[in-house]
C-alpha cells in the first residue's frame, strides 16, 4: 500500500514537473527568406517575433533560408528541437511546411501568403496589402506631373498583380491619364537590381516610384533623383526622408502574439487569415507633409473608409487592358477573384511576363 502510494506520488510529481517544464519550454520558431536587416519584409516579421518575445514566449529564428532543399531541413530541425509553433514567412516554403507538418502532428505551423493547408496543423495567413496600394494610387495620381508612375515588381503572382491594379485604379480615379510602367526584377530582395530598375523607370519619365520588393534601394534612388517614392513593408522614411510620401507597413505583431498565445494555451485551430487596414495587419506610416495638407487629409479619409469597408479597392466598373469588363458597375470583386488575379487593368503598360 505504502509502496504503491510512493509510486503514485513519484509519478505524479514527475508528471507535474514534466508538464510544467513543457509549458515553460513553449517555443516559437520563425523561418525568414531574407536577412532581418533588410528593412522590409523580413524586418517586419522579425518585429513581430520580438513582440512575441516581449509577451513572455521564447522564440528562435533562422534567416536567409533558401527555397528548395534547405527550407525543409530548417523547418524540420525547428520542429525536432522542441518548437511548438513555427511561422514560415515566405511563399516558397509552402510545400516544405506542409511536408514537415505531416510528420509533426503536435507542432503547429503557420505559413504566410500560401494557399495549401494539407494537414489540420497548418494555418495560412496574409495581409490585404492592396488596400494600402489604393491609398498610394490616390496620392500618386494627384502628385504626378508626367502622368507616369514607376512600379518595381518582384514576381508576376496574384498578390503583386493585385497591388499594381489596386494602385492604378485609384490613381485613374483622380487622374484619368495615368500610366503605370512596370519593371520586373524577379527577386524579393536584390538591392542592386532594384536600384537599376528604379533608375530605368525614372529615365522613362516616371516621377513617382513605388515597389513591391523588400530593399530600400528604390526609395534611395528616388531620393537622389529628387522625386517622390513610397516605402514598402516597413517605414522606410529614414532612408529617404524627403522622397517618401508614406510606407505601407505590414504589422504582423498582433497576429503573431495572438497565435502564439493560442498555441501555448491549447486554443489554436486551423484557419486562413486575410486581414487588412481594419484589423491593423496593414498600416500606413505618417504621411509626408510635402504632399500638402489637403492631400494628407484625403489620404487619411480614404484610409478610414477602406478600413470601415465604405470603399472597396476593386469597385466596378473595372476593365482589363483590352477593354473587356472584369467587374460590372456597382459591384466589387470578391476574394476569390482577388486571390487568382491574373490580368492587368486598363492603364497598366506592357504584358504580364509569361
Amino acid at each position: 500500500m505504502y509502496k504503491n502510494f510512493l509510486r503514485y506520488l513519484i509519478s505524479a510529481i514527475f508528471l507535474i514537473t514534466f508538464s510544467i517544464s513543457a509549458k515553460a519550454d513553449f517555443k516559437v520558431g520563425f523561418v525568414y527568406i531574407g536577412p532581418t536587416g533588410d528593412h522590409g519584409w523580413t524586418y517586419q516579421h522579425d518585429e513581430g517575433r520580438k513582440a512575441v518575445e516581449a509577451a513572455g514566449i521564447k522564440t528562435t529564428y533562422v534567416e536567409s533560408v533558401k527555397y528548395g532543399a534547405d527550407a525543409e531541413r530548417v523547418i524540420r530541425q525547428l520542429a525536432q528541437s522542441g518548437h511548438d509553433l513555427i511561422f514560415t514567412t515566405s511563399f516558397g516554403y509552402m510545400d516544405a511546411t506542409n511536408k514537415v507538418a505531416k510528420d509533426f502532428p503536435n507542432v503547429k505551423f503557420e505559413h504566410a501568403t500560401g494557399y495549401k493547408r494539407e494537414h489540420s496543423n497548418v494555418s495560412t495567413y496574409s495581409a490585404r496589402f492592396y488596400q494600402g496600394r489604393t491609398i498610394l494610387g490616390h496620392i500618386a495620381g494627384k502628385l504626378t506631373k508626367t502622368n507616369t508612375i514607376g512600379y518595381i515588381a518582384s514576381f508576376p503572382i496574384p498578390e503583386v498583380i493585385r497591388g499594381i491594379n489596386a494602385m492604378t485604379l485609384a490613381a485613374q480615379k483622380v487622374n484619368p491619364n495615368i500610366k503605370t510602367k512596370i519593371v520586373w526584377v524577379f527577386s524579393w530582395y536584390d538591392p542592386g537590381k532594384e536600384a537599376e530598375a528604379a533608375q530605368a523607370l525614372i529615365d522613362q519619365g516616371a516621377d513617382i516610384i513605388m515597389q513591391h520588393t523588400d530593399s530600400t534601394a528604390p526609395v534611395q534612388t528616388a531620393e537622389k533623383a529628387g522625386i517622390w517614392s513610397f516605402g514598402q513593408a516597413s517605414d522606410m522614411q529614414r532612408f529617404a526622408p524627403k522622397s517618401i510620401l508614406t510606407s505601407i507597413i505590414d504589422d504582423w505583431a498582433p497576429y503573431y502574439v495572438e497565435r502564439a498565445i493560442a498555441a501555448r494555451d491549447g486554443t489554436w485551430s486551423q484557419q486562413d487569415t486575410w486581414h487588412g487596414l481594419k484589423e491593423g495587419m496593414v498600416a500606413m506610416s505618417p504621411y509626408n507633409k510635402g504632399m500638402g495638407a489637403d492631400l494628407v487629409k484625403e489620404a487619411k479619409q480614404l484610409q478610414k473608409d477602406l478600413a470601415s469597408g465604405k470603399i472597396h479597392s476593386f469597385t466596378g466598373p473595372i476593365y482589363d487592358q483590352k477593354g473587356n469588363i472584369l467587374v460590372a458597375e456597382g459591384k466589387v470583386a470578391d476574394d476569390g477573384m482577388l486571390l487568382g488575379m491574373n490580368v492587368y487593368v486598363k492603364g497598366v503598360e506592357g504584358d504580364i511576363p509569361k
Binding site: D70, P156, I157, K354
Partner: protein
C-alpha cells in the same frame, strides 16, 4: 649597417604526405579561427563549436542530411578535378548544374502524368547531356577562338539562370499554380528512390560514388588520365609529347559538365521534386572549394565534400540553438580556403630572412 632581406624560394622537394596532410591543418586552423570569432561575438567557443560540428550529425536524420548535401558537392567537385588537373579553369559548374536540371526537368515534365521505370534513367541521361552541352560552350570557344574559359564559363552561369527564370515563369509554369514561378510537381517515377523511409538521402549518392570510382580509374589508370596530369604539370611538355591538347580540353569540360548536370538532376528529382528558380544554393561555386580541399583527389573529394557540407548544416544549427548569424557558414568556408592556400604557399615556398651587410650586396 645591416639590412633585412626577405627572400622567397621555391622548395624542390615537397613530401607527398605533407601535401595531403595540409588540408587537415587548414581545417584545424579554421576551427581555432572559428572559436576565436565565436569568442569575440560573445559566445562560449566550445559550446558554439559543438553546435556547429557535432549537433548537426548527432542523429540519423542529421547524418542523412549531411550525405544529401555532400552528394551534389562531391559530384561537381569530381568533375571539376578533371578540368583543374589539366589547367582548365571551369568556374561555371553552377551554370552547368542549372542547365542540366533544365534539360532533365524538361524530360520530367514531359512525363508529369505518367509512371514507368524508364522515366528516371531518361531524366538522368538528359541532365548529364544538358550539363555536357553547356560546358562545351566555353571549351569550344577556348580551343577554337582562344577565349578565356574563366570568364566565359562564369558568365554562362547567369545565362542558364535566366533561361531557368524564363521557363518557370513562362512556358513551364504550373498551370494550376496561380502564376507562381515554379513548374508542376514531378511524378513519382521521376523521383530518386529514397534509401531509408523518412530520410531524404536518395539514390543519387550512388551516382556520386560511382563517379568517384570511375574518376579514380580514369585519372590514375588510363592514358587519358596521364595526358590530363601531364598537361596540368606542364603544357609545353604535353605538346612536346604530342598530346592532342584540343580534344583533351573538350573531353575534360564534357566530363565536368556532365557531373554538374547530374548533380542538378539529383537535386530536382531528389529533395525538390520540381523546377523553380532556386534549385541550388550555389553548389557549383562551393564545389570549387571542395575540389581543392580534396586535393583534386577522388577520395580526398569525398572527405572534403562532407566537411564543407557540415559547415552548412552547422551554420543552421548554430543559428537555431544560439542565434549565431547564419553567414558564419560562409565565413567558415572562406577560412578553410584561406588557410589551405596559405599553408600551400608555405609548403611550396620557403621564406628566408637574410641579414646582410650592405657591401655584400655589391654596393
Amino acid at each position: 649597417m645591416e639590412d633585412l632581406l626577405i627572400r622567397i624560394e621555391k622548395r624542390n622537394d615537397v613530401p607527398t604526405t605533407l601535401y595531403f596532410f595540409t588540408p587537415f591543418i587548414a581545417i584545424i586552423l579554421t576551427i581555432i579561427g572559428g572559436g576565436i570569432i565565436f569568442y569575440a561575438l560573445g559566445f562560449n567557443p566550445a559550446e558554439a563549436l559543438k553546435f556547429y560540428f557535432i549537433t548537426p550529425i548527432s542523429n540519423l536524420y542529421g547524418f542523412s542530411e549531411l550525405l544529401l548535401k555532400a552528394t551534389p558537392l562531391c559530384l561537381i567537385a569530381i568533375g571539376l578535378s578533371f578540368c583543374f588537373k589539366s589547367n582548365n579553369w571551369n568556374i561555371g559548374a553552377e551554370g552547368q548544374l542549372t542547365f542540366g536540371a533544365i534539360v532533365g526537368g524538361g524530360v520530367a515534365l514531359l512525363f508529369y502524368n505518367q509512371e514507368g521505370f524508364y522515366i528516371l534513367p531518361l531524366i538522368i541521361i538528359a541532365g548529364a547531356i544538358g550539363g555536357m552541352i553547356f560546358a562545351l560552350i566555353p571549351a569550344i570557344l577556348k580551343t577554337y577562338f582562344n577565349t578565356n574559359e574563366i570568364l566565359v564559363s562564369l558568365m554562362l552561369v547567369y545565362v542558364s539562370k535566366l533561361i531557368l527564370d524564363y521557363l518557370v515563369v513562362g512556358p513551364w509554369s504550373n498551370p494550376e499554380g496561380f502564376n507562381f514561378p515554379e513548374t508542376r510537381q514531378f511524378s513519382d517515377s521521376s523521383r530518386m528512390p529514397l534509401l531509408f523511409d523518412g530520410l531524404r538521402v536518395h539514390a543519387g549518392i550512388f551516382i556520386a560514388l560511382a563517379a568517384v570510382l570511375v574518376s579514380w580509374f580514369v585519372l590514375y589508370k588510363t592514358y587519358l588520365g596521364f595526358q590530363i596530369k601531364v598537361s596540368g604539370l606542364s603544357l609545353k611538355t604535353a605538346k612536346y609529347a604530342g598530346f592532342k591538347g584540343k580534344t583533351m580540353i573538350l573531353i575534360v569540360f564534357m566530363i565536368s559538365g556532365a557531373c554538374a548536370g547530374l548533380a542538378g538532376v539529383g537535386e530536382i528529382t531528389g529533395p525538390i521534386g520540381q523546377l523553380h528558380r532556386m534549385i541550388s544554393p550555389d553548389y557549383g561555386f562551393t564545389a570549387i572549394i571542395v575540389a581543392f580541399l580534396g586535393r583534386l583527389n577522388p577520395f580526398g573529394i569525398i572527405f572534403a565534400s562532407l566537411v564543407v557540407s557540415l559547415t552548412y548544416l552547422g551554420a543552421e544549427t548554430a543559428q537555431i540553438f544560439l542565434q549565431i548569424p547564419q553567414y558564419t557558414g560562409q565565413v567558415f568556408q572562406g577560412m578553410i580556403l584561406f588557410f589551405l592556400l596559405a599553408s600551400d604557399y608555405l609548403l611550396f615556398f620557403k621564406v628566408k630572412i637574410l641579414s646582410l651587410k650592405k657591401n655584400e650586396l655589391g654596393h
